[in-house]
Symmetry: C2
Subunit: 349 residues, 2 copies
């Protein structure tokens, strides 16, 4: 086992960044060596910024990316700042050119070539030139509606059709998520925002659908189709960050469709709303594969998104360090796993 | 894409070998170049031996291992002849020394170091010396009670306890399986055979338990405990290969326990019997992880063992060819996946 602990820099101290810091601090064989922030947060204690007790850990003073990220000062930078490839490209490039591996929580980075082929090729090239690896991961995209589906097809001689459904509760999330999903707004406003293209809904279906298709060798014949429909509440619903009156929008029912030879082959359903149980709804992750054999999987309740993304991001650190250089995705690397021992035990010689 | 098709030799033409031949024949970019048999089967048509129509395929004359397996005549030998490492060791060695990769369906080969550390090290060394790869896989061990469990822990910050249960129907299986599970015998005979060590039950719990423990960094503190209990039928049950009178044994309820610091951490339950629905039983695969978060997964009905093992074995061919040399297990390689396109598309340059 190597003597030096695995060194990690966390870029972005929002909800994900905070959770990642907490998880890393609880693990053996790994240490946080830097935190990247912007504006007035620069120069403050990372622990004070995220509001957790640092215990016996040495303090980390958060800094700007160019002050914190110097050549080879860490094994991995965990980048948890964006959802889209184009917004994270320059950051990823900067880290790679400092010869440090990158794990990104940006949803589109889970399979960047799905929508950003050109940037994706550039990232791969820069990573290889600098002998380091880039991976995008998270709970979804990253596991539930793509890697787990792919893994289950491994037991199939043939696959005819795939359906993945994730029914979750947005209650634990903050204002940014509520806005992105249209929670609390009127049905008219929801529909207008869909028309304008300002209602994000779930980000990741093109990535999940393309990842599965590429993994099992299906050529998508048509553009991936996305639909966003309002989930209209018939009751009053309330969370710390949102309030929904009856007749208003409790969330976004996102649907995605992938076609092979013009035929619907991959169907994704992801209704996201606050407090679905108030109308008798249950939550869960469901995968149905029609093939030889048929497979019907359910996880109830759903694996929670926040904890799941934090865990996936940290748990993939050793696989990313071990990987051959370049842009990798979850279907290229060994399976994720919890790390209950020393993280260095998972490093290859 | 490479021009030559992937070349496969199938060693053993039992139920698994037959299924593997059928699946390989239905896939693109791969061809069977040899079949290994023993005794009077030598010199006969592979297709006649397994009783399937060869269509437009060139006939394959089955031969002895030393006639069929010559240096580099294939990319992979699929070895489906044994359950135990010690029985398959010489065969694996022979193939590796001919510089050909091996995929084995022997249950213990899914994680051979669990019970055969010395042979496991030898296999690894021979594989590396010859620049080829060995993998043991199948539905279970290989996916359901180990790789799938491991993958789900990837969404966990912490794991407290793991429970995996596989409830299946042995009805489709032949006389060897019926004998190994004690189907149709009296309770006294079952108990005597357990005492004598001649009732196999499920083979693979030490492998699955050790695979999970190693993957997530748990050190097993005690020997793995195995229990075999008779499933006593209260009704008459019958299949093509077995008959059970009321009061007699319908199958074996196999249990396995893994301990960390003396505490039960991994619990495996695998009742295998014919026609459980005759007493109202349902079948399925169930995984429960106690941790952060808790995860409750079910697949109903269970993924069938025969088809599943055939599929896993064939679907891992490209990963084995791509792999670095040595003895690998399912937790070392990228996730399995169905192959619906040309198998060569999955080969790395």
């Amino acid at each position: 086992m190597r003597k030096a602990k695995i060194k990690v820099i966390v870029w972005g101290l929002g909800a994900m960044g905070k959770g990642i810091v907490e998880m890393l601090n609880a693990k053996e064989g790994v240490e946080i060596v830097g935190a990247v922030v912007r504006g007035p947060k620069i120069g403050k204690s990372m622990y004070e910024l995220i509001g957790i007790d640092r215990g016996h850990k040495k303090d980390i003073i958060a800094g700007s990316f160019n002050d914190v990220i110097k050549e080879k000062v860490a094994d991995v930078v965990i980048l948890c700042t964006d959802s889209f490839v184009k917004d994270s490209f320059e950051k990823i490039k900067y880290v790679l050119e400092k010869k440090i591996n990158v794990i990104s929580t940006a949803e589109e980075m889970a399979y960047p070539k799905a929508q950003e082929k050109e940037l994706s090729d550039k990232i791969d090239k820069i990573a290889k030139e600098n002998n380091v690896t880039v991976l995008g991961t998270g709970i979804n995209p990253g596991l539930i509606m793509d890697l787990l589906v792919t893994t289950l097809t491994g037991a199939c001689m043939d696959v005819e059709k795939i359906r993945a459904e994730r029914v979750n509760n947005l209650a634990p999330f903050g204002p940014a998520v509520m806005k992105g999903q249209g929670v609390g707004i009127s049905v008219d406003e929801f529909n207008n925002r869909v028309k304008e293209g300002t209602l994000a809904g779930h980000v990741g279906f093109p990535e999940s659908i393309t990842m599965i298709a590429d993994a099992i060798g299906w050529n998508l014949s048509d553009p991936i189709k996305l639909e966003r429909a309002p989930i209209i509440s018939s009751v009053y619903r309330k969370t710390p960050y949102a309030e929904v009156q009856p007749g208003y929008v409790a969330g976004c029912n996102m649907k995605g469709y992938g076609y092979v030879d013009g035929e619907l082959k991959i169907e994704m359903l992801h209704p996201q709303q606050i407090e679905p149980h108030l109308e008798g709804g249950t939550t869960g992750d469901y995968i149905t594969i029609e093939g030889t054999p048929n497979i019907n999987m359910s996880i109830t309740p759903e694996i929670p998104g926040g904890i799941g993304t934090i865990a996936m991001t940290v748990n993939m650190i050793p696989h990313v360090i071990n990987s051959r250089p370049g842009l990798k995705t979850m279907i290229d690397l060994p399976v994720p796993r919890a790390i209950m021992g020393d993280m260095r035990d998972l490093l290859e010689d």
